[in-house]
Amino acid sequence: MSEFTVGKRQRRLLWGISVPMALIALTCVYPVFFALNNALKSNREYILDRFGIVSEPTFQNFVQAWTRSNLSEYFFNSVVVTVLSVLALIIVSSLAGFALAVLRFPLRKLIFVVILASLMIPVQVVLVPFYKTIIGLGLLNTRAGLILSYTAFFLPFSVYLMTSFYSGLPRELVEAARIDGAKLTQVWWHVMLPMGMPALITLGILNTLYCWNDILISLLVLQDNRTLMVGIAALRGEYTTNVPLLTAGIVLAAAPIVILYLVFQRKIVSGIAVGAVKG
């Protein structure tokens, strides 16, 4: 009897929380709507009615952004840089996590502490030495330079995450593989990499977002050429801004990320079977 009343009260509480939460969620949806809506307007229609729903949809803005504003080129840059950076991040952090979590070697703890410490230094603090290093290495205005920079800046967190993840796996898995005659590289490839998939997918998504959305590092390293986000930021004029053109660019930039997320979300749900240890 008392259980029933508690259930009722909890349900009421749930509703009480759900409504404001839904409203907050809606405020997140509005900018998306704003961007899509205005990207489909002509500049004239936008000036006449900023907030109204588009009446004569046109893809003119997309075409213009893609061709005349060089976004196609920037887009290509971003894809290359993001894909290669994320690949490097995943491979290196999985290797480093494996080593730090499983192998025993001198200074292991110190190395881990240094990595943790570098996690706490914001990019802005090291901009000047970073910039000088990039120039010194002759990597200014190269995609390789940007890939290297992203990998370096986002690596501490990735390594930290993979180390914690691998530390949570039963040691026996690696030991069984060693008894089965697997070399270290084979243990990594056949056991650690597949076992690390849940964490690696998370890292992949996070790092893709960071690399794709970055402006600061990209602005410093690629000064002639540009990545997509820098290119879009440049669509804003000094005195006037073609808002439909800008929003079209934003939609173009956001689309790959949204698609990626949808694809991988299904992958995460279909799941990595976990059953190594009696659960």
């Binding site: 089965d180 084979q186 190594a276």
Partner: protein, 351 residues
């Protein structure tokens, strides 16, 4: 098949030594069980044999070859872990063939060996499943299958059954015994379940705090323990210990009763404090020393009853192959003097 020879093996973690010089010879094809209380070093010893822990000092030979610094994969061993340690992203077949694939064995050989092992362990219908879709017992069979496929000289088991429920444990125990008969490999098996030790072992090694207490066949350890620790560890329920005092060269006094012990080789000194050990199953004799026991609880298991109580203030368990009933307040126990084992106060056997 391989013999294993361990000489004065030691293991330290930093400054702390946990295995204090263990020596042991294991015959080819022998089934040896390590038993002992938690933390006594059973797993550490097994893992040193497997090559998963460095050997701090001493020699380990397998098949006549010094193995101290040899890679685990090169020692001719296979190991079954308590947690099964199956690769969750691989099917049962892939789990079992992993070692052969790492060694780049030909595909038909891999298929044949996996099939053979699957047949022995009745895993054929499960070969395409992932470990997550298996029951605990099935997972353990896969783990054993993975060991069989490697065709090792020596099988190492670290508490392989302790994650299973009681019924399954009995079933798997029988399977492992059968497996040993079929393959006749050398096997080393770690457990703290003394039933597993008694039923599986050719020889039992009793460990305590990094030392070997006694090595012998199950019957030797049961009948002729070297010390009170082994006497108490082997046998279930454990042996009863009563305070005794020598009152003649070949007799002791317990609870005011004199017990003649004509089989003793040593002569006792009058007044020496001793411990008298007598197993619960030996308190049901028709002839011998009789004592009255004050009953606390009678645990009736159906076929047998364990009666817990006290004699002269000391706790005691007696076994009765009959229903005793809960109303009983007093029970006469009776034991033959030749079933008595004597120990000195430090636990060493007095023969």
């Amino acid at each position: 098949m391989s013999n294993i020879s361990i000489t004065d093996l030691r293991k330290s973690y930093g400054q702390v030594e946990v295995i204090h010089g263990v020596s042991l010879d294991i015959e080819p094809g022998e089934f040896v069980v390590f038993v002992g209380p938690s933390g006594c070093g059973k797993s550490t010893l097994l893992r040193m044999i497997a090559g998963l822990e460095d050997i701090t000092d001493g020699d380990l030979e397998i098949g006549g070859t010094l193995m101290n610094d040899v890679e685990p994969a090169q020692r001719g061993i296979a190991m079954v872990f308590q947690s099964y340690a199956l690769y969750p992203h691989m099917t049962v077949a892939d789990n079992m063939s992993f070692g052969l694939r790492m060694a780049h064995a030909p595909k038909d050989e891999i298929d044949r060996k996996v099939k053979d092992a699957a047949r022995i362990l009745q895993l054929e219908p499960l070969l395409d499943r992932k470990p997550a879709a298996l029951s605990g017992g099935q997972r353990q069979r896969v783990a054993i299958g993975r060991a069989i496929v490697r065709d090792p000289d020596v099988f190492l088991f670290d508490e392989p059954l302790s994650n299973l429920d009681a019924e399954l444990r009995v079933e798997m125990r029988v399977q492992i015994a059968k497996l040993h008969r079929t393959l006749s490999n050398t096997m080393i098996y770690v457990t703290h379940d003394q039933t597993e030790a008694m039923t599986l072992a050719d020889r039992i090694v009793v460990l305590r705090a990094g030392h070997i207490e006694q090595v012998g066949t199950p019957i030797e350890l049961y009948e002729d323990p070297d010390n009170a620790f082994v006497a108490g560890f082997i046998g279930s329920p454990r042996m009863n210990f009563l305070n005794a005092r020598a009152n003649g060269p070949k007799s002791v006094e317990v609870a005011g009763r004199t017990i003649p012990l004509p089989n003793l080789t040593a002569d006792l000194r009058d007044g020496t404090a001793l411990q008298l050990g007598i197993r619960p199953e030996h308190l049901d004799a028709t002839d011998g020393v009789r004592l009255m026991m004050d009953v606390d609880v009678a645990e009736d298991l159906g076929a047998t009853t364990f009666v817990h109580g006290t004699v002269g203030g000391e706790t005691l368990v007696a076994e009765r192959r009959a229903h005793v009933g809960n109303a009983v307040r007093e029970l006469e126990i009776c034991f033959a003097p030749d079933k008595v084992r004597l120990f000195d106060p430090d636990g060493a056997r007095v023969r």
